[in-house]
Symmetry: C2
């Protein structure tokens, strides 16, 4: 049994973006000190933490010193290098662990893992060469989506193939990296489920959110999603199987496609707090950030039941210029990330607009 952290203990966070900032805020409310590890000294999370360590993730000496200086380590992004995670785990409890990172970092490993643990996905094939791609297209049919196995996020490293003539161009986007071809899913809705598992194996699950993406970026979430209770149940079974198979500790996000007839396919998992769970910050007594910190600290999980419905709107790029208008809207809770520079496609903040659960 891993230790339970006392209040005022130190929690290390690998990664200093907005997710790290919101984790640090939640941890501070529970009395913890956070130490943020990020290559950028001026990162958003470092500016609301007790301490910042500025070093490259590949600087394993720095990672070791960082992990030695704290009582537990977590991360805010799934592309933590394997060696970094291993060194951190050698010096402090790393939650979630190395196994979850390994699965989530490679789409082929991830989808194979999901299928073996009760979470059905779209059909897929590994693709390295043009010949592989031709064969995979023959098997999966058209349209299909070619994706790099590693380091893809927010729609990057992806190419849709609608016609065989587009195959070569799609392969070029992969830039020689190992890839995966996925059957195109004609989904009715994009859903996601946020769940947590504690160090002693207890699981708590939030209601499904319905999400809308554009240009590969999450634009908005509505939660709880308007769905049949049996869909919530099916998603809970899928995510619980994955949490237990990974012996997971912390918050996980699973993105799902709901097909027209109601069946669910798992798309991907993120071994961390997730943008589609931001609605919980203002609609639940215990939000995903607190839930994650509780798990990382070896504390019992909280009740994930929402007291409000929420419409979460991402402020991307120049959307953030509307901050003053959002302040005027009743029941809108504004979250800004403190980023110095507004860039197209950059997540700058979000808003949770609350409404009564009974209105839904």
């Amino acid at each position: 049994m891993a230790p339970c952290l006392a209040p005022a203990s130190r929690i290390g966070i690998l990664g200093g973006g907005q997710l790290g900032r919101m984790l640090a805020r939640a941890a501070a409310r529970l009395g913890f000190d956070c130490v943020v590890f990020d290559p950028d000294q001026d990162c958003p999370a470092g500016r609301s933490a007790a301490q910042t360590v500025t070093a490259a993730y590949e600087d394993l000496d720095a990672v070791a010193r960082f992990a030695q200086s704290v009582d537990a380590v977590t991360y805010e992004f799934e592309n933590v290098p394997a060696a970094t995670a291993q060194i951190a785990a050698a010096h402090a409890p790393l939650r979630p662990g190395v196994k979850a990172l390994g699965v989530a970092q490679d789409r082929l490993t991830e989808k194979t893992f999901l299928n073996r643990n009760g979470a059905e996905t779209a059909a897929f094939c590994a693709v390295q060469t043009g010949d592989d791609l031709t064969e995979a297209l023959g098997e999966l049919g058209l349209p299909a989506v070619l994706k790099t196995r590693r380091f893809g996020y927010d729609g990057k490293g992806q190419a849709v193939i609608r016609d065989k003539s587009e195959a070569a161009a799609a392969l070029a986007v992969m830039n020689g990296q190992p890839a995966i071809l996925e059957a195109f899913v004609d989904f009715a809705r994009e859903l996601s489920i946020i769940a947590a598992r504690s160090a002693d194996g207890a699981v708590q699950i939030y209601p499904l959110a319905e999400n809308r993406h554009a240009d590969g970026l999450l634009r908005e979430s509505l939660a709880p999603a308007h769905i049949d209770p049996c869909v919530q149940e099916a998603a809970e079974v899928m995510v619980t199987g994955v949490l237990n198979a990974l012996e997971y500790v912390g918050v996980i996000a699973m993105e799902l496609f709901a097909l027209g007839h109601g069946a669910l396919l798992a798309n991907e998992i993120a071994p961390r707090v997730h943008n589609t769970g931001h609605w919980t910050q203002d609609a639940c007594a215990v939000c995903q950030f607190e839930q994650h910190i509780r798990a990382v600290a070896g504390w019992p999980l909280g009740d994930p039941a929402p007291h409000h419905a929420a419409h979460m709107v991402n402020l991307i790029g120049e959307d953030v210029d509307d901050w003053a208008q959002w302040l005027q809207i009743e029941n809108a809770v504004l979250h800004l990330y403190g980023k110095r520079e507004t860039r197209a496609g950059r997540k700058m903040g979000h808003v949770n607009v609350l409404s009564a659960l009974s209105d839904r």
Copy 2:
């Protein structure tokens, strides 16, 4: 018109205790960087802020540099030395201002000011000598309460006089400091009202809280208080008069006594966020800390309407050892301050237990 701060601006906070820590967290959610000024390098607020300045409040050079380095300055305690406040105000907008500090730091000035601005108080007399005290007791009757004019808080520097024979001992407690004798108020309930005024003069007011003190320390608040709407109205008139007379910018707290027949007497004001407003953190979309930061930033105020009722329980001294039990209670939101040492009478944290407004 004072400037409106852009997101990612820097806000300076004089004082690094739990109120500063909660202000820093609220500011971080709105995208600000906080700089905390405190003599203690390891203060609670500094550990969730962008930067900490460690210096004595009397180090006016350090105060000047601190104020120059930020876009606005606020404070978390009312005993900021006058010279410190003046230096800060010379280099950055100080919100609330020097005037509010001057009024709140001296009970005689405060009560005189309150009475002149529509907030009736208990009868009082200035007391310096034994003769003053004899005369004042003759005027106000028994029992009465003798208090130091300055630097009293949480019941310190006070002595109740129930019999003339106790007068000398009470005066000794004052230790030669200027004092004030107040008529004893046989109140039915202790109430408080949290209100805010923006840089452009708009006022927003939270519902009254009912408070219970013991040994001079706040133990719990219930909000909204179960009171007649006309009592809320009377309190709003009182606090609005005070806010406007002070040309106040920020959150203020006014403690009130409700007499048996429903009339209100003002007890004191605190020119800052206040322990009796902590219930707003989890029961309102916009809590007192966000409201204060909005005002300090020159931003519009938010809607103070609660979406829940709350029972706020202070965790004082060893109360904090029950933290794990509070985690298990549904609708209880735990706040710990990250203080390293538990001491008798020290505020270590609080809990907000939420319930439906309609249950009240």
